[in-house]
């Protein structure tokens, strides 16, 4: 009996990510959810710019590469062109979603577009070599903040889930992480719910995944996972930030 194997929606190619990068885990979770819901044939993914720019090579469903930050806008167009027959998800990092693509993200959420957004938050710009991101923690040493992020100069990191939860629009916002087996299983539940919401036509669902970047944090893969627990989760608390349907049911 096979207990675990590569999901069908994940292409059988080696990924280019650094050793220990949790992008691969999230890719697999998305592919597993696509398999379980049986929607591979009608799913269209939107790849971002950033480390996951080549996500289009790693999924067996149709993929589109969007300009930097514009994935929610492209997803809006694809979804609206044939809302009944397409399941559209975007897969974006923090440099893409929370920096250059902030406007697209906020407005897609405000319009409650019926799309699924997977947001990888690793508190740094990975692909370009470890510069400070809008989500870098106060005091975090990066290539462009060698003395640590100075909040008097650079401001405070943006908590995307909290910010979007103030809008009337979005249907479902949750923050999860993938730094342990238990956390991975929780993350999968959240990603599955985000896809289910779209299948049921409920609206904008965003899952923020606290992810590791061992290379640019300058840590081993094991220490990077601990760093998420010690440094990131205190600033970015895990949990459901908005679940409109569940709230309406309890009323």
């Amino acid at each position: 009996m096979v207990v675990f194997d590569k999901p069908h929606a994940l292409a059988d190619v080696p990924m280019h990510y650094c050793p220990g990068c949790t992008h691969g885990i999230v890719h697999r979770l998305v592919a597993e959810v696509i398999d379980e819901l049986g929607i591979e044939g009608k799913t269209i993914g939107i790849a971002p710019v950033g480390c996951s720019v080549m996500a289009y090579d790693y999924f067996n469903c149709d993929m589109i590469e969007a300009a930097h930050g514009r994935a929610p806008a492209v997803a809006t167009g694809v979804k609206r062109s044939d809302p009944e027959n397409h399941i559209v998800f975007t897969y974006q990092g923090d440099g893409d979603l929370a920096s250059i693509g902030m406007a697209e993200t906020v407005h897609a959420a405000a319009r409650n577009e019926n799309i699924t957004v997977i947001f990888i938050n690793n508190a740094i710009y990975g692909m370009t070599g470890g510069q400070m991101a809008p989500t870098s923690l106060p005091g975090q040493v990066t290539q462009t903040s060698p003395y640590g992020r100075d909040v008097s100069l650079c401001g405070y990191p943006i908590r995307v889930c909290e910010m979007l939860s103030q809008l009337e629009g979005p249907e479902y916002l949750e923050r999860v992480t993938v730094n342990s087996v238990k956390a991975v299983k929780n993350a999968k539940k959240a990603i599955k719910k985000a896809f289910m919401n779209q299948v049921e036509g409920k609206g904008f669902s965003l899952v923020e995944v606290l992810s590791s970047c061992p290379t640019n944090w300058g840590l081993t893969p094991q220490k990077a996972l601990k760093w998420i627990d010690e440094k990131m989760i205190p600033y970015y608390p895990l949990g459901v930030y908005k679940d409109r349907s569940a709230k309406e049911e309890t009323k």
């Binding site: 009996m1 096979v2 207990v3 675990f4 194997d5 590569k6 994940l10 080696p14 990924m15 990510y17 650094c18 050793p19 220990g20 990068c21 949790t22 992008h23 691969g24 885990i25 697999r28 342990s180 087996v181 991975v184 299983k185 061992p214 893969p221 094991q222 996972l225």
Partner: protein
């Protein structure tokens, strides 16, 4: 006993599976080097494997197949 199959040439030797394993089944091969130039993971004590698939759950590169 469970059976583990690795796509050895895709392994990047990050070791996340080794930490996830509750039975200490896995290790990075001390003498083998794969196509990518890493020491790939191997099952040093496969007889202890309980097939929980924790290793495969944590593997970022999806190289582990678990059968029971």
């Amino acid at each position: 006993m469970a059976k583990l199959t690795f796509k050895t040439d895709s392994c990047k030797g990050c070791g996340l599976c080794i930490d996830a394993c509750p039975k200490g089944v896995l290790r990075l091969s001390p003498d083998k080097i794969n196509q990518k130039g890493h020491h790939p993971v191997e099952a040093a004590h496969e007889e202890n494997c309980i097939g929980c698939a924790f290793c495969a759950t944590m593997c970022p590169d999806c190289i582990i197949k678990v059968e029971r």
